[in-house]
Symmetry: D2
Subunit: 108 residues, 4 copies
């Protein structure tokens, strides 16, 4: 059962090892694969209006979900190879963003 | 404290709402932003050999970690707008991949 | 006959007009399509070594050429919508690059 | 003077040779660089509406033109390394597209 990013990391690590794919999984190659998966996801939206992209017809959802999954899979695999803790770096980046885009008084 | 993808999802949702950014966060736009962040990450690796990409010098790591964080942030934000459970779709995709790339007997 | 970028620009303009596709060809959408085509091209190289990418087997070439064509087609279409003269901006950028990356004496 | 794609091809070839950059210019690496440049171009449009992307404010145009130039530069360099004649493959692809998307009688 995969319930967390840690589970997914271990599952992907084992999947690659069992197939002798580690030789292909350099950070360089994994960023290429990640970029390709993002493009496959983006392709679903390129000719839609923003409004259409917000209310996809139900028959489109399975394919979109599968592309989202592929993006996460390569991102988690890349983070593992780079020894990056995904949630920790995102938490740190959120702190940077909070300083970079402070709330104006009117927003508070 | 952000400890899980669920925490990150809620934190990003609040961050966008407080700044009135929801109007910009259509799935169409978020896939573009996701693609741009992946490119900023990939840029670190484009002229490196695969071997160099595997052993980045320590002074490069903070910038790479920050780009990885940006990718996760836009992916989580997009998944929230699409109402996709990231870990659940990745688990399902791993099942599909296991069928698509079965282990040969020699690997077992 | 398409012999120049100017020919290709006009041919693409007519192709889109005849199919009533101009409504989809905003610069925003065309950059998405351009990015998707580049990814389809990059996909051919993602698991290859650099050396393998330099000496593609002949049977791979037709597909690679077709992806290269798609990239040029969307780039030309985008430049037309932005009213950018492709060769002129590239010439100007080459001047900038010559200043940015001057030849060292040892290279001359 | 750079007046044609052939001029640009030769100019880029010489520029790379003079700087000993050919070692970096594998097709694999050049597709990555191309993808990064497309993303830098796309970044200008990601939060704009389609309508805004069609009528960019004049002060934005120089930066957009420079990104368009960078995309063409890497595409031409890649085509040279792959020994692909850009206009010829685009002409061939236009023939394929004409068969794939025939005009309906109502359009003629």
């Amino acid at each position: 059962m995969i319930k967390t990013l840690a589970d997914l990391t271990l599952s992907l690590r084992r999947f690659a090892a069992e197939r002798d794919w580690e030789q292909f999984h350099s950070p360089k190659n994994l960023t290429m694969a990640l970029s390709v998966e993002v493009a496959e996801l983006m392709e679903h939206f390129q000719w839609l209006t923003e409004e259409q992209s917000t209310g996809l017809p139900p028959e489109k959802l399975p394919a979109v979900r599968e592309e989202v999954a592929d993006v996460l899979i390569y991102l988690v695999r890349l983070a593992d190879r780079l020894e990056v803790d995904l949630v920790a770096v995102a938490e740190r980046k959120m702190e940077i963003n909070a300083e970079r885009f402070p709330l104006r008084e009117a927003d508070q």
